[in-house]
Amino acid sequence: MKFGILVNEGPYTHQASDTAFKFTEAALQKGHEIVRVFFYHDGVNNGTRLTTPPQDDRNIVNRWSELGAAHDLDLVVCVAAAQRRGIADADEAKRNGKDADNIAPGFRISGLGQLVEAGILADRLMIFGD
């Protein structure tokens, strides 16, 4: 089965990103395919490499990057939502005249079309939000 994953909230403030991660992990363990993990609304905040969470708690950003690398996942941060909230890669930073970028490893920034496409390509679109 092909799953699309939509994460609507940022790390820590809501459990959405945690539940999405646990679901994604379980789906991969069962041999399913993850078409894309799309981060929208405050979910784009899962894609910043500047977090320093307490050492004795889970590192939400890093574990998405690690899971992404281990399984070649397509982790996509919505460009419009990212622009609103200040998540940028080097290209976006340059294009918008910002003096820094902050995207985390394994994430890429792209348009909402990627979310709609995931809905078309996947057998099930799983939504995690508030």
Partner: protein, 100 residues
């Protein structure tokens, strides 16, 4: 259809809306703060008990445990599942609706 409910029934009306719009015979999965709805002795217990007659109800074990809810505190008829079962439920149903 698989319906997921992730908010407490005392915080949000999502459970009410889900019950109003779910066709009989649906699978209802309670996750995150949604699991409070399936604990015994609450003001929504009767509604949830009634729902077990029309639908099949599930609650995510890890979320129950995180909130200190033991098996005997869960309403009779609600099945306790893990993340793997969550995946299976999503695969088994033709469509999924997340009542945020």
């Amino acid at each position: 259809m698989l319906h997921t409910i992730n908010k407490s029934p005392f915080e949000r009306n999502s459970l009410d809306t889900c019950l109003r719009l779910a066709k009989p015979g649906s699978d209802l999965l309670f996750v995150e703060d949604g699991v409070y709805a399936v604990t015994v002795g609450t003001a929504v217990q009767d509604n949830v008990k009634k729902a077990t007659e029309e639908h099949v109800l599930y609650a995510l074990g890890p979320d129950l445990a995180a909130r200190g809810i033991t098996e005997d505190q869960v309403i009779d008829g609600v099945n306790i599942v893990d993340y793997g079962d969550f995946v299976d439920l999503a695969a088994k149903n033709d469509r999924v609706q997340a009542w945020l």
